[in-house]
């Protein structure tokens, strides 16, 4: 239902000058994939570090909130790179991608991961020490890793299944 409501937008995007221009050239898409992987590395690497900080593994000096301030901008830059390049890759083959089950799963997971990141994950990460117990912090770290790696796994599945 939600997906079929988006169909006209996808049709327009795929038929737009940008969509046609991107779809014409494997080289353009290849470059976008390199950017997508660089963004993924920064985003997932940053997620691992922030989760380690939350779980109290390594990064001993300073709070998890401080670590989030240090890592956060780089991680968000990675997310921005991945989303912008991903949007352009999608635009170059919109109708085909949009039909794919794994593409839809990936987008659903991405939406959940983003919402989780800017709500609960942010609250627990920025909370003063002692506000949340060790298990609440570990579970939050685990959920974050599961969600973001889930996005990655379903992204890889688009290419194969």
């Amino acid at each position: 239902m939600v997906w079929s409501a988006l169909q006209p937008v996808v049709n327009w995007l795929g038929g737009s000058a940008l969509g046609v221009w991107l779809g014409q050239s494997p080289t353009r898409i290849a470059i976008l994939f390199v950017v997508h992987l660089a963004g993924l590395t920064l985003l997932l690497g940053g997620t691992i570090v922030m989760s380690l900080g939350l779980a109290g593994v390594g990064f001993r000096s300073g709070s998890s909130a401080q670590l989030a301030r240090e890592i956060g901008p780089w991680r968000m830059a990675g997310l921005a790179l991945a989303i912008i390049s991903g949007f352009l890759i999608f635009t170059g083959g919109a109708l085909t991608y949009f039909e794919g089950q794994w593409f839809r799963r990936k987008m659903t997971l991405l939406l959940i991961a983003v919402i989780f990141n800017f709500s609960w994950f942010r609250i627990v990460t920025n909370a003063p020490d002692g506000r949340f117990g060790p298990w609440a912090r570990r579970l939050t770290a685990g959920a974050s890793l599961l969600l973001w790696f889930g996005v990655g796994v379903s992204g890889r599945a688009i290419a194969f299944f």
């Binding site: 494997p26 992987l37 993924l40 590395t41 691992i48 390594g58 780089w74 990655g152 890889r156 599945a157």
Partner: protein, 161 residues
């Protein structure tokens, strides 16, 4: 025996056949997401060396916090990478992108060894410095550029398969 014949023989093995015909998506997916643990971890050490993040943390704390995950990540990359190579050994050998990737990997390794032998043993004097001395910053930046090149060459090599 010439290299090409040797690679042909490698492709006749059972393991090569299994990877090529069924395990490829899973091993390739692991290889791509393993970027988060390998390059995704070493990048924080490099960024700290450049003086771009975590300036109030000792360099040694950043290194020790990611060390174990990073080594596990690079082991994972090496094992999955070797399996992917065995599956398509001839095409890999003939691909200019694969050759470039191996060259960048070697250069990244040499850069890390030079840093380890010449700069790193003096870390104690600038371990707490927000911005490390020029030699360390050059080593960090070189590492970042080389690893990004490894990712780019690896992604482009996929088009030669």
């Amino acid at each position: 025996m010439p290299v090409v014949e040797w690679l042909h023989a490698l492709e006749q093995t059972r393991i090569s056949e299994v990877v090529r015909e069924s395990a490829f998506p899973y091993i390739e997916g692991t290889h791509v997401l393993g970027l988060s643990l390998s390059v995704g971890m070493i990048a924080w050490v490099d960024l700290r060396l450049v003086g771009a993040t975590m300036r109030t943390r000792p360099v040694s704390e950043v290194y020790e916090s990611v060390q174990g995950w990073m080594l596990a990540g690079f082991c994972l990359m090496f094992v999955t990478g070797a399996l992917l190579f065995v599956a398509h050994a001839t095409k890999a050998y003939e691909s200019v992108f694969f050759r470039a990737k191996v060259a960048f990997l070697l250069l990244a390794g040499i850069n890390a060894l030079i840093f380890h032998w010449t700069v790193n043993h003096r870390t104690t004097s600038w371990n707490d410095a927000p911005v490390p001395p020029t030699a360390a910053r050059v080593a960090g930046l070189t590492s970042l550029v080389l690893w990004l090149s490894v990712i780019a060459a690896g992604r482009l090599f996929a088009y030669d398969l």
